[in-house]
Chain length 209, copies 2
DNA sequence: TGTACATCAGTGAACGCGCGTTCACTGATGTAC
DNA sequence: TGTACATCAGTGAACGCGCGTTCACTGATGTAC
């Protein structure tokens, strides 16, 4: 069992973080599959060989990034679904939270979008598994809402998956806004809110259609 | 002006196709940004230098693949929207067409999913532009349906974008089905149909909500 | 039809370069007594 | 507190390798007369 305190451990953690941050920064402009060990260590200011004290290879580092990228997304959804469940208000909050999240964790979200269908299998599978878990949690949260009375578990999961896909596509839409066109953020928010409202209307009339 | 017939031209086209097919095949397992000139020419059975008679670089080849990948998708949507516009039937046809399309153009669709947010800018931008054009066309087709009476152009585009995103995510869901679990196709089709039905219900009750 | 010349798709060798990974090392930190 | 030894994160050199791109070439196809 290894110690978690001590100057040596602290220093190691700091170097590891520097490697992750360097990779995250470089991944804003390229895929994980074209990112090199030398490239990352150069950016982090250390020698290439040091990389192997922290990660087996780039895929290993990538899986670590998936975990921390989705941890923050995870906290986000809990925050929204813990609020009042009046549809209109929930929609506004959800879209605002996604917009803010993308603004604050840009590199992480870009990484997820880029590698979700990317060429590094362990990373792709980790993202897929996390998103599936995420949909399960949303389904569980939906089940607690009065609006879900009479809904089967299957339909709740179907709806949760629709919401998660919508969230992902909204987040990537925010990502793709060029730096010199910040006014596009407003259009994306407005469209996302309307789409969620349309889904919400469909949900309300689902059974009597 | 160059001739389009003659043995020389025909041979050149054939080699070009061999390069595109070799690339498409290799791209099933990796990103464009990690695909090499030597790798593609080796797969196509020619010498590396020959590549430059056909493409400036890999990004150039990638943009060509985007064009041909989306040309077939384009034909697809026209076929579906040209049919009867009764909601239930249209949904069934749409999902079947997507499923069939993925089965028949697997490599092309995988390429689009992988590079839509990938690390090669010209390719990413070409895909984004084509999908935007696609949404415009869907909006135009929706406008012709009786169910759209009273809808603003903005709302029709919002709806079209929701449909296009749904189509893309359904197509990639089919893609990710492992070869040894073909029964998952049925689940994906069923969920996609229900989601489209829910959107369709929302659409019907949009104005009086 | 035949001949002489032009075009150009594809070749094969060559180049300099940066890559991933290994290895024995060093020196700061940790531990036992 | 001090000393002797153990640990191990990070180093710097070395390796063999495959890369992208260039170049002068060759030989089949095309064209002019």
């Amino acid at each position: 069992m290894s110690h978690t305190s001590g100057a040596r451990q602290a220093q190691k953690q700091q170097t590891r973080r520097a490697l992750l941050d360097a990779a995250l920064h470089l991944l804003e402009g390229q895929n994980l599959s074209s990112l090199g060990v030398r490239e990352v260590t150069r950016e982090a200011g250390m020698s290439p060989a040091g990389f192997y004290r922290h990660f087996r290879d780039m895929a290993d580092l990538g899986v670590t990034l998936v975990e921390e990228s989705l941890a923050s997304l995870h906290g986000m959804v809990l925050a929204v679904l813990a609020g009042p469940d009046e549809a209109e208000e929930l929609i506004d909050r959800a879209v605002d939270v996604v917009a803010g999240h993308v603004r604050e964790h840009r590199a992480h979200i870009r990484f997820l979008a880029r590698e979700r269908h990317g060429g590094v299998r362990p990373v792709r599978e980790a993202i897929g598994a996390e998103l599936a878990r995420f949909a399960d949690e949303v389904a569980a949260a939906l089940a607690d809402q009065p609006a879900s009375a009479g809904w089967s578990a299957e339909d709740l999961l179907m709806l949760a998956e629709l919401y998660v896909e919508h969230l992902v596509s909204t987040a990537t839409a925010f990502l793709d806004v060029p730096e010199d066109r910040p006014e596009l953020d407003l259009r994306i928010s407005r469209v996302a809110r309307r789409q969620l409202r349309l889904i919400s209307v469909g949900r309300r009339h689902w059974r009597d259609s």
